[in-house]
Amino acid sequence: MRRSYPANVKLIRVPCTGRVDEVHFLKAFEQGIDGVYVAGCLEGECHFLRGNLRAKKRVGHVKRILTALGINPERLQMYNLSAAMGGRFVEIAQEMTEKVRALGPSPVKTGQGREFIEEQGEGKKR
């Protein structure tokens, strides 16, 4: 289909999204990557049964860690789509790019401290 999507999206191939570990996400953010998303199979259609659900769980967990670190958890997302959904792939790439662009460079990179404060959590502390 060769449909165009933003060039800032780069792919890392894994056999199953269930292979992706929390440390991989965290390393990415630590190195200054502005956004990460996981593109897994549609829910219920994992070739390895539950790999994409495991990935989803981990994404959720890392989002909480990011929050605690003051990094906007929106920078990490999980999407589900099939190999036949080229159009959706493009949409996601655009959506994620716009999202991250709106957030600006990662605070890890800029060194400007917390960009995100979880209101409830922080509020309690105060």
Binding site: M1, R2, R3, S4, Y5, A7, N8, K10, L11, I12, R13, V14, P15, C16, G18, R19, V20, D21, V23, H24, K27, A28, Q31, G32, I33, D34, H47, F48, L49, R50, G51, R54, R58, S82, A83, A84, M85, G86, G87, K109, T110
Partner: protein
């Protein structure tokens, strides 16, 4: 030939190779099974690519899997398999020999592409100017004449569609490639168009003006509206390029002064063409011309208002620029003789001197002043000499010279110009347009007038005495002969008389040198070589042909150049020059919209007087492109050769010829497939007339994301999204009027799928399916159908629409049907999809004739009852829709079954024809520093056009550990593989990165290259800079290049960490275990044994036979019990089969290839272990015991199986019965058991027909929901209706009610057609009870195999792996998989054996590679991996740590990600590797700050 020798020497020596005809999914499956089981396979495919119909489908039912996604890995596997040869564009011509040893002749049509060289990059497709309707897209989109059938087409190479040459090209005397340049003009490629014209016509500007264009007269477009304006297009492109000269690629002189010199006498079109042709071959050429300028008649004869002299000069200048010397004002015969030329070193001479004198008119008075000669008059005027004419001019003659003279005279100021011709307008040789123009310019035409003498006064012309003529009989020229009318003399006054009645040569010297002229005044030559009577002297043009057109002289110039070149080289002048008569291509058979031809504009008549301004004007660029698009591309490929220029791999060869291949094979499998029924044969549907009536296959393409509308559901007429769509079922199925009284088996489900997908694409879309019976008879189909109704709101309306009408304004379609209230209702739809049936492929009949195999009356293969997949000829097998209409899994099963039959035939020669590739020993790289080599691919221009490949390659060299980098035109080409191997050896490279396309298709190729170089194949990494850079960022080359660098950096970082991975070899236990001794199990056991494998057959009961023991007669008329007894006999007697009856399986362990199963044998309860490599589970099914309709409570209520048994055993006398009622779907299609039992309809009809046979007037009522006599079973349904069996449909929500009396039962049922209750009293009520799986729960648990909710074995993939369990090495067949007919059971059992044989045929298998590995030191035995693994592979060993068997691990890595200790790493995707990639990616970002 090898085959013949073998036969002579060893009689019937078998050949371990199989021919598969047809490369659809059936052919692919058979090929893979055979190749994986040790046979050489040749796949012969008619089209340019394998993949068949399945490749065209969008999704597949009932799982909605993407069809291409599931097919594409198989395509790659077939493509890469060393034992499979794909032969495309090919057909089987003949077959000789005997089973085990056939010789097959295969004819292969030229593809025009060298498959070895083509990389499928598609650069040629970009430049091809010819668009043709894409077959793959069902004509909804275009493809090019050079094309790939679809993106994933296998072999991954283009092909060219070419027919005969088009009539325009064949008719052109010089064979100028008209279709080619017209196509290039249509594509806006003007320079390329002109270059193409010049190859055959060096005077394009000239011919674009004065050519008589016979091409247009034969143009096939003329049959539709008007011929394409070929000549004005040529003129346009020549003029356009003259005004927009292109600097690039100007033809450069290639003259070689050392070559022999050639003299050309005469600078007319023949001489110029010959000179150009010879100059391009390097010969020094000199043209001698008598006139002061070049052009011959074009210069001296054609007046400037037809062709301005500067334009002639332009064309000639281009020719002379090739280094040709022109010497003007030299008259051969006067200034120089031929002998002089020879003496001056000219070794060959071409005479193209033309006919330079006017023919004499033998009448009195020709010497009066004022009498002029046409040719001489024009020459003088055209060369600018002063010529005086009187105010009143008479021209004598009717040819082009006469017209030119008349129109010239008119421009020179003559007040009156008369043209005298002795016949009528019809006979005039001058072209029609010229005569018309002359008249418009005021020339008066006088017909049937013959000059008798010229009258003069004072030595000057005064007039012409003429006489009138009449036309007589036609003369030898075919024109009517003019006959003088006696006494009709009269005088025409004129001050000037121009005589233009013909041309004559000016060759007084010819005879002196031995050149004798003919009576007609021409020079005789050899018609083939153009050589004159004098050796080394050639001639062409008017001097040879007589007065003719420029293009004919050009044609002779080409031939002369060929002859002279051969003459000078000493070659045979005549070899291969005989012109073959070629049939011109016909107009393509499809609809074209009428579109008028471009009109050329002319200078207004009033502006023509007194000047020589050009009259005809050039068409505009816009007009030209539009006009060029009218071309029908009759020859398909236009041979414009743009592809040749674009192909970096030099893979294109337009001169490829058909080939014949002879193959030696032991067996043949035919899977030629089907085509969709052509709905034009059912005219009432308006297909082809109404834009929005389409076929199911067209809708598949519309739905497909890669289809013509990128997956957006548009209707063809206006591109709007349809809101209401109707499907009409049984178009070309169940229809005796078109000779298709069978059911196509798949349409109900594909329509259901299409309706679901349409709703998915267009929320709110209303889908209605008009049907006869919904045939959801396959596994999981009924559930799918229910889900379409209930979850998607698909409306199913019973009743078939016979006619469709169109609202011409909205293009909506009106359908009329019988509504629930019994009235006719009309409803409008935006789009109607015709569910067209399956028809044997075109050519199937001829194929069958050539192979002498039988077909049934529909054209399907005639296979015998209980002999599925066997054709009528031994050794030739059939599968797929060629056998009968069926869906994909049945096709796959049939194909595997046919493969099994071939394996049985060729059991002794397994493994004899396959070559295992030998690799050098692997180099140990453990102690080496990582040394990475990077190969960056240009992919022709596919990558390089966007990504700056050289800079990526340069950049690669700067990366850590990279010791070598280079760019390649095609990294996948054979020569680059050699370069990679060389780099590994020369530069000590021990990790390889290829930056090119997708690992999905190309990783195996490169990994193989590494192995050839002695490196472990896992030391390889790919960066996909095509799919992920150049293709998707085509408009942002800068960003694409940067991203390509990022991807290479990531790949190189990972590469440095790659480790060689070991694959363990495990030996295979060559024994099969078959569980279940029914028809399925016994068939499987026998097939294993016939293939030479040992088998253990375990049966729970005391005797073999299973359910088949209860089947006493068959619809086909065959005797099942006789067959069964024979089968049992064979099984019991076979030495390789160990039959274990009265036995239960009690335990099971092991992995594929190494299973061990325990059996307990009654009555002594002895325990036995079976060690086996594979197992087939054929545990059967049983008839459901009904609880409804008084079954078990009333003696007159029985099941179908009981009825059959009672009839067979004579326990029931049908004569005592008055009326029998059968109720269908008992225990099936219910909430509790949603499946359809598939075969109960056929069984009911079988029993009804049996009863009718015994008592013809017996009253039989069948109460049904849908009659599901799919495929060829439909014929029995028709027969039953014909014999008076009555069928009444009941609604599931209003099931029949049964009441019992003593000897009778009363059935009350709502008849929805009659809309009233029927009350039927019956002597016997027969229940068509569901077929359910036999007891298998424990066994399934033991073997760890999955089952459906209803307890049937669950295959790993519904479509493509229908007999495989998810656990490798285990296979299923028979009723335990799903209800099926006996033939289907046999086919499936054989299929299971073929699949198992792919494993058993090997001595060992490789396991490991990309698998998870546990570090026992780190493992805390927390059991998390045990729970995370989807396949229950990890186990905690006795020493207290987790162990993952590499043979079982599927490499998903879920355990590795879950392991809290990081004790598990997934090889090839280790944490350090993924983190290295992330780090490398982030590097640039951090640097950017």
């Amino acid at each position: 030939m090898a085959g013949k020798r073998k036969r002579e020497a060893g009689g019937a020596k078998k050949v371990g190779a199989v021919l598969v005809v047809g490369g659809g999914i059936g052919g692919m499956q058979a090929s893979l099974d055979l190749a994986n089981a040790g046979y050489k396979v040749y796949v012969v495919e008619r089209s340019t690519a394998i993949g068949g119909r399945m490749a065209q489908l969008d999704k597949t039912f009932p799982t909605n899997d993407c069809s291409m996604c599931t097919l594409s890995p198989k395509l790659i596997e077939v493509d890469k398999h060393l034992s499979i040869d794909i032969i495309t564009n090919a057909e089987v011509e003949s077959l000789e020999g005997e089973p085990g040893n056939f010789q097959v002749r295969v004819s292969k049509q030229p593809r025009f592409i060298d498959l070895e060289e083509c990389n499928g990059c598609g650069d040629c497709m970009e430049v091809c100017p010819v668009a043709l309707p894409s077959e793959f897209e069902e004509g909804l989109a275009d493809r090019k004449a050079v094309f790939k059938a679809y993106p994933q087409a296998t072999p991954n190479a283009v092909a060219i569609s070419k027919l005969n040459r088009p009539p325009c090209v064949l008719t052109c005397p010089a064979n100028v490639n008209c279709q080619g340049y017209v196509a290039l003009i249509a594509a806006g490629k003007f320079k390329e168009a002109l270059d193409l014209i010049r190859e055959r016509n060096p005077l394009p500007s000239v011919c674009g003006r004065i050519c008589h264009h016979p091409c247009e007269a034969v143009c096939n477009r003329g049959e539709i509206d008007e011929p394409v304006a070929i000549n004005p297009l040529k003129r346009f492109v020549a003029d356009y390029m003259r005004v927009h000269p292109s600097e690039e690629e100007e033809e450069k002189p290639v003259i070689d002064p050392a070559k022999p010199r050639v003299a050309i006498v005469g600078a007319g079109p023949a001489g110029l063409t010959a000179a150009r042709g010879l100059a391009l071959l390097g010969y020094p050429v000199t043209i001698f011309e008598a006139l002061p300028g070049a052009g011959g008649m074009l210069l001296a004869g054609v007046p400037p208002y037809r062709m301005p002299k500067d334009i002639l000069g332009h064309d000639i200048e281009k020719i002379l620029k090739l280094g040709i010397e022109l010497r003007t004002n030299v008259r051969i015969g006067k200034d120089l003789s031929l002998e002089d030329l020879r003496r001056d070193g000219y070794q060959a001479i071409f005479l193209g001197v033309g006919l330079q004198r006017s023919m004499n008119l033998p009448i009195a008075g020709m010497d009066f002043e004022g009498v002029l000669w046409g040719i001489e008059f024009l020459r003088s005027v055209n060369l600018g000499k002063e010529v005086r004419i009187a105010p009143r001019v008479a021209v004598i003659g009717g040819g082009n010279t006469a017209i030119d003279a008349a129109r010239t005279a008119a421009r020179m100021g003559a007040e009156e110009v008369l043209l005298l011709y002795r016949r009528t307008r019809v006979e005039m040789p001058a072209s029609f347009e010229e005569v018309e123009a002359a008249e418009a310019e005021g020339v008066t035409l006088h017909f049937l007038v013959d000059p008798v003498r010229i009258m003069g006064e004072g030595g000057k012309v005064k007039g012409i005495e003429c006489r009138k003529m009449r036309l007589g009989e036609p003369d030898e020229s075919g024109r009517k002969r003019p006959i003088p009318i006696e006494g009709s003399e009269f005088l025409i006054e004129a001050g000037s008389v121009i005589v233009a009645i013909g041309q004559a040569p000016d060759l007084a010297w010819a005879e002196d040198v031995g050149l004798q002229l003919t009576a007609q005044g021409t020079l005789p030559v050899d018609p083939l070589t153009l050589e004159t009577a004098v050796k080394g002297v050639f001639a062409g043009g008017d001097i040879v042909l007589g007065p003719r057109y420029a293009i004919e002289a050009i044609a002779q110039g080409h031939e002369a150049a060929i002859s002279i070149n051969r003459y000078l080289r000493g070659d045979d002048l005549r070899a291969d020059r005989e012109k073959k008569e070629m049939e011109p291509a016909l107009a393509p058979e499809r609809e074209f919209e009428r579109q008028p031809r471009a009109k050329t504009s002319k200078l207004p008549v009033r502006e023509r007087r007194g000047n020589f301004h050009e009259v005809e004007l050039t068409i505009s660029e816009q007009e030209a492109v539009a006009e060029a698009k009218r071309c029908l591309n009759c020859g398909l490929c236009s041979e414009c050769l743009q592809c040749v220029a674009a192909c970096g791999a030099q893979a294109i060869d337009h001169y490829m010829l058909p080939e014949e291949i002879v193959l030696d094979v032991g067996a043949v499998i035919l899977t030629p497939g089907y085509e969709p029924f052509d709905p034009r044969l059912k005219g009432g549907y308006g297909y082809g007339r109404f834009d929005n009536v389409i076929t199911g296959m067209e809708f598949e393409r519309i739905l497909s994301a890669s289809g013509p509308y990128q997956g957006h559901v548009h209707r063809p007429s206006d591109g709007q999204e349809p809101k209401k769509v109707a499907w009409i079922q049984c178009v070309g199925s169940r229809d005796v009027t078109v000779g298709r009284d069978y059911c196509s088996s798949v349409c109900c489900m594909y329509a259901t799928k299409e309706a679901i997908m349409a709703i998915d694409h267009v929320p709110g879309l209303e889908a209605t399916i008009f049907y006869n019976d919904i045939r959801a008879h396959g596994k999981g189909f009924e559930y799918y159908y229910e889900s379409a109704k209930n979850n998607y709101g698909v409306r199913y309306r019973r009743g078939i629409i016979s006619t469709i009408t169109e609202d011409p304004k909205t293009k909506n379609l009106r359908l009329r049907y019988l509504a629930d209230n019994g009235r006719i209702k009309e409803e409008k739809f935006n789009l109607v999809v015709l569910s067209t049936g399956l028809v044997p492929s075109p050519g199937t009949k001829e194929l069958a004739e050539r192979l002498e195999i039988g077909l049934d009356r529909f054209g399907f293969a005639a296979t015998g009852s209980f002999l599925p997949n066997r054709s009528s000829q031994p050794g030739i097998y059939a599968a797929g829709v060629f056998e009968k209409p069926m869906d994909i899994p049945e096709t796959v099963m049939g194909a595997s079954s046919a493969a099994a039959l071939a394996m049985e035939e060729l059991a002794d020669v397994r493994g004899t024809m396959v070559v295992e590739k030998q690799y050098p020993p692997e180099r140990d790289v453990k102690d080496e520093e990582p040394r990475v080599g990077v190969f960056v691919c240009r992919c022709g221009t596919n990558i390089a056009r966007v990504v700056d490949v050289p800079s990526v390659a340069e950049y690669s060299k700067t990366l850590p550990n990279v010791v070598y980098a280079e760019e390649n035109i095609y990294t996948c080409s054979t020569d680059t593989q050699a370069r990679i191997i060389n780099a590994i050896k020369e530069h000590g490279v021990n990790r390889v990165v290829v930056a090119s396309c997708t690992p999905r298709t190309h990783e195996p190729l490169f990994q193989d290259t590494l192995r050839e170089a002695g490196l472990n194949k896992y030391l390889f990494e790919m960066a996909n800079i095509r799919d992920q850079c150049s293709w998707v960022h085509a408009t942002h080359p800068q960003e694409a290049t940067e991203k390509a660098k990022d991807l290479v950096r990531m790949a190189a970082a990972n590469a440095a960490l790659l480790e060689p991975l070991e694959r363990q070899r495990i030996s295979i236990r060559k024994r099969a275990l078959v569980i279940g001794g029914g028809l399925a199990g016994m068939t499987a056991a026998l097939s294993f044994a016939e293939q030479g494998f040992e088998v253990s057959l375990v049966e729970r009961e005391v005797e073999l036979g299973g359910n088949m023991r209860h089947i006493h007669y068959a619809l086909s008329g065959q005797d099942p019990q006789a067959f069964l007894q024979e089968l049992i006999g064979k099984v019991m007697a076979h030495p390789s089969i160990q039959v274990i009856t009265n036995a239960e399986v009690v335990d099971h362990e092991g992995i594929q290839g190494n299973f061990s199963t325990g059996v307990m044998i009654a009555p002594a309860m002895t325990y036995r272990r079976v060690e086996h490599g594979v197992a087939v589970l054929a545990t059967g099914g049983e008839e459901y015991k009904p609880t409804e309709y008084l079954y078990g409570q009333h003696p007159r209520v029985i099941t179908q199986m009981e009825l059959e048994g009672r009839i067979a055993r004579g326990e029931l006398d049908p004569k005592e019965l008055g009326r029998v009622v059968m109720i269908q779907c008992v225990g099936a299609r219910t909430k509790e058991r949603p499946s359809c039992s598939r075969i109960c309809c056929a069984i009911a009809i079988k029993n009804a027909l049996k009863l009718k046979e015994l008592v013809p007037d017996l009253d039989i009522h069948v109460l049904y929901r849908d009659i599901r006599t799919y495929g060829l079973l439909e014929q029995y349904y028709t027969r039953a209706r014909g014999q008076g069996v009555s069928f009444t449909r009941y609604l599931p929500e209003r099931r029949p009610k049964v009441q019992g009396a003593d000897e009778r039962v009363t059935i009350k049922v709502w008849d929805d057609a009659l809309r009233r209750n029927l009350i039927i009293e019956a002597d016997l009520l027969v229940l068509s009870a569901a077929i359910i799986p036999g007891e298998n729960e424990e066994l399934a648990a033991m073997f760890k195999v999955q089952r459906t909710l209803e307890g049937a074995y669950l295959e790993v993939h519904m479509k493509l792996r229908p007999v495989d369990f998810a656990r490798e090495g285990l296979y299923m067949c028979g009723l335990a998989h799903a209800p099926k007919l006996m033939d289907e059971t046999i086919s499936q059992a054989q299929a299971a054996v073929a699949r198992a044989a792919t494993l058993l045929a090997k001595d060992e298998i490789e396991v490991g590679g990309v698998v998870a590995r546990v570090d026992s030191e780190l493992c805390a035995a927390c059991l998390i991996c045990v729970r995370a693994c989807p396949y229950a592979v990890p186990v905690i060993c006795q020493d207290g740590y987790s162990v993952i068997d590499p043979a079982k691990c599927q490499g998903c890595g879920n355990c590795a990600a879950e392991c809290p200790q990081r004790a598990i790493q997934l090889q090839h995707y280790r944490d350090v590797q993924l983190i290295a990639k992330v780090t490398a990616l982030a590097q640039e970002q951090m640097n950017a700050i």
